[in-house]
Symmetry: C2
Subunit: 104 residues, 2 copies
């Protein structure tokens, strides 16, 4: 079953745009790693909050992507700009509207 | 800017599948209301948790959808099967991979 992940992270004040830029660069690289959706959003009322919603072919694809050198390099660049406050929710996807075809 | 919403809800024990079915029925109806993505996921480790990630043309489209008779009917059907524990995060979408074309 397709794997979903919804995660949030908190940037240090003034650094959210830089972190978002790193996340968007990463988005270009992960399609080939089994990611079919990677949506980056920011809160308008909480100026440091970033939320990412992801769909992967499987939990294993997601886990393997975190070990890729380019992913590790991106994480290393972003970490000093983050407070360390993360949330994450792993999900089994059951369907919906506009879900990429790789899900079915 | 496109509007994102990530929300969670908790079903009463034994009722998650029924709530998911109601959410998936709703997914068929909301494309015409300005929704381009509506992904329903469930936790494998928390048997009552449901998470929905949504992309709308605008915050106003999302708000208007909640006033539609079919949405209100679906909410009314689901509510008795929910504990009342909700979370929700409104987002401005900044980009990513696999994001529906209506975003750009």
């Amino acid at each position: 079953m397709a794997f979903g992940y919804v995660g949030s992270m908190r940037a240090r004040p003034g650094h959210r745009a830089e972190v978002v830029a790193i996340l968007l660069e990463a988005a270009d690289q992960i399609a080939s790693a089994g990611c079919s959706l990677y949506v980056v959003g920011v809160s308008e009322t909480d100026p440091d909050l970033i939320v990412v919603s992801e769909i992967w072919q499987s939990r294993e694809h997601h886990a393997a992507s975190l070990r890729l050198p380019e992913t590790r390099a991106a994480i290393e660049r972003a970490m000093p700009m983050l407070t360390g406050e993360f949330t994450g929710q792993e999900l089994s996807l059951v369907g919906g509207l506009g879900v990429p075809a790789t899900l079915s």
